[in-house]
Amino acid sequence: MKRSFFAALGASLLALAVAPAALAQNSIRIAVLGPMAFVQGEHHWAGAEMARDEINKAGGITVGGRKLMVELIRADTNEMTSVPDAQSAAERVITRDRADFLIGGFRSEAVFAMQEVAMDHKKIFLGVGAAHDELGLRVERDYNRYKYWFRVSPTKSSDLGRTVFAVLNAVAGEIRKQFKTETPKVAVLAEKAVWTEGLIAAAQKNLPAMKMEMVGLWQPSATATDVTAELSAIERAGADIVFTILSGPVGIVVGRQMGERNMKAVAFGINVEAQKDEFWGAAAGKANYVSTLNTYAEVEITPKTVPWVRAFKERYKKSPAYTAATYDAIMLLKQAIEQANSLRADDLVPVLEKIRYVGNGAVIEFDKRHDPVWGPGKSLGIGVQWQDGKLVAFWPPEIKGMQPFRLPPR
């Protein structure tokens, strides 16, 4: 009797020791890393919450014949003020909170630091927020170490540039069509910041090739409260397009003052402020025709986009920012886990490398750098424009639900 008891105990212990990790746990712990005191982190968390609730409501993720619930760990990285804090947060969620997977990150240098910790522990880290090309280049350069990193959103910086110029070309085409202008004149209005330099150089190089004339470069401060001098100079230069490269509050000022001056030129480019719901009110309702790149809108980027954006707006009373792609990251992870039938990072990497996931803002497939493949029908982004107080999507035109692009009257 005693002997059989010990044999059974020994067998049980051995079984426990060799059982896959999934059998030993009741939930899948996903750490959401982001600057939680900022809007980017807020949307990281919101997207992840939506994914968690949807998965758990449907019974969880099937792995090893069991249904495991998703458990989220909210980790404030404090990355806007301290990169060491971000790295420590990554270490904490892995070693203390026993996170199985990491998603999120925003500031590129903080994501680099967190990436190191995740790779040290061989944890899958799905990036949602940082766009720097180098993050993916590391996978290519040192695959064995960095293979656990995958970028879900946004597309890498160089691809973002490709999208901007593709939309700019469409805007120029509209001007050519409506105003019979063969060579539209473009004024580049970029805030004085290092991140804009690459796009400025690209504009100087690409615009002549795209049969556009660059009439000048104006560089106000990112926090400027008046751009009258710049805008009057742009008017005098006869610009048809104001190519904006703005991330700071100056984006609101540009929109408001262009409206106040009834400028004939239309603004398009990157204007982070114009992506927000509050932009119209902040610009005193004068920012008609201001357009920018964006990630989500109520158009059929994929069949999931419209219902998801509506559900997000209903739950959080605001439109999703691009860091809300944590939803797609978790859903993509679910698909990969169920396909691999494993939680082990080394089992999941080859599955993720071959995955095709239809998300809310893109169809995600990964290239050899584990970056989302750029292009129509994949990860591309959309062009949006403020039209009479509403943010409407206009590009790419082949997507269902797109509205025509409008030009200011002349």
Binding site: M36, A37, R74, D76, N78, T81, S82, V83, P84, D85, Q87, S88, A89, E91, R92, T95, R96, S108, E109, F112, A113, E116, H132, E134, R138, V194, W195, E197
Partner: protein, 357 residues
């Protein structure tokens, strides 16, 4: 055996006799044996970072506390050294240890240069001038993104060792060596001259002290110490980026210095080892983790309200007292002086703390 016995006797008579020294000895012991008993990687990371920031804070205290050269741009040495070390490692393939040494030397040169520029400045003028230096360096780095990595910085800096335990001991031992070295320096004739320069530079010059030479020397030594910490941090985190030169970091070190107690060396070190883990711990709570800066500021304000000379001198004054006759320090609970056996009054409290515990 003879030396061991002598060491033990010295330890019992000079270290254990004073509570502050016993606390320091205990702290050193805990740091050295912590991984043996509690090898939690997260805790080791926090202690590693605290050790590096402690070097940084102690180096600021030598410069600002002892010589009165209140530097508002101390991140210049920290970040400058990190960049030099990272560039040498990443771009030129220099072995990491050699790169750290070069970074430290570069920080000493930066110290000399900024000290030379500020030689004729005093008080708030000096502080404001030093505040500009890291901003200038950031501007230069951003102006040459191909060389410096621009806003992103230089990722992929090789580690000194890939073992977490190795990184821990490198940081802790570097911290102990540098902090005790700075402590000894501050307690030497050199430290005394720095005190004289801080209190009345004109009088010090009149007494025949070559004050510019000492000021330059303290800038260089402080820069080198801060630089060592910065270079080690870049190799530990595997990135050197503009955040290492941020104004916030320069002010953080001032807060650590004032919170811990300036002109003590041990004060800022204690401040880092108290405040850094506390803010990290606060950060792990969802309820107020996202307001960690607010909580941090509240702690600092409340503590300074009750302990205007800083946390460490306040604590030391609670557990130790000065002999009214020979001025030797004694444990607060002793009835008579350990040196001259004079009776110790319970109400006698030291009015000023010297540089040594």
């Amino acid at each position: 055996m003879y030396w061991l016995r002598r060491l033990f006797r010295w330890f019992a008579a000079d270290v254990l006799a004073l509570p502050s020294r016993a606390l320091v000895a205990l702290w050193v012991l805990v740091l050295l044996v912590l991984p043996v008993f509690y090898a939690d990687p997260y805790v080791l990371r926090i202690v590693t970072l605290a050790s590096l920031f402690a070097i940084f804070a102690a180096s600021w205290d030598l410069l600002a506390g002892y010589s009165g050269q209140v530097n508002f741009g101390h991140a210049l040495f920290f970040g400058g050294s990190a960049y030099v070390s990272a560039m040498l490692s990443v771009k030129a393939g220099v072995p990491p240890w050699l790169a750290v040494a070069a970074g430290t030397a570069a920080a000493a040169l930066l110290g000399l240069a900024s000290g030379y520029i500020c030689l004729r400045l005093r008080g708030s003028y000096l502080s404001l001038a030093t505040l500009a230096f890291p901003l200038i360096l950031v501007g230069l780095l951003l102006a040459a993104p191909g060389f410096s990595g621009g806003e992103l910085g230089l990722p992929g800096v090789p580690r000194l060792t890939n073992k977490p335990l190795g990184n821990y001991y490198i940081a802790v031992i570097a911290m102990l060596v540098v902090v005790f070295g700075l402590w000894a320096l501050a307690d030497s004739r050199f430290g005394l001259l720095l005190h004289a320069i801080r209190d009345d530079e004109l009088a010090a010059r009149a007494a025949g002290i070559n004050t510019p030479r000492y000021k330059l020397a303290v800038f260089a030594i402080s820069g080198a110490a801060a630089g060592l910490a910065g270079a080690l941090l870049a190799h530990y985190m595997r990135i050197a980026a503009p955040f290492l030169l941020e104004t916030a970091l320069s002010f953080q070190v001032v807060i650590w210095g004032i919170f811990g107690g300036i002109a003590t060396i041990y004060g800022p070190v204690a401040a880092v080892f108290v405040l850094y883990p506390i803010t990290e711990w606060i950060g792990s709570f969802q309820a107020f983790g996202e307001r960690r800066l607010l909580v941090f500021a509240a702690i600092v304000l409340v503590v300074l309200l009750w302990m205007p000379r800083g946390f460490a001198p306040w604590l030391r004054d609670r557990i130790e007292t000065n002999c009214p006759r020979c001025k030797q320090r004694n444990a607060a609970w002793r009835a008579s002086c350990r040196a001259c056996t004079a009776p110790l009054s319970a109400t006698e409290r030291p009015r000023a703390s010297g540089p040594r515990a």
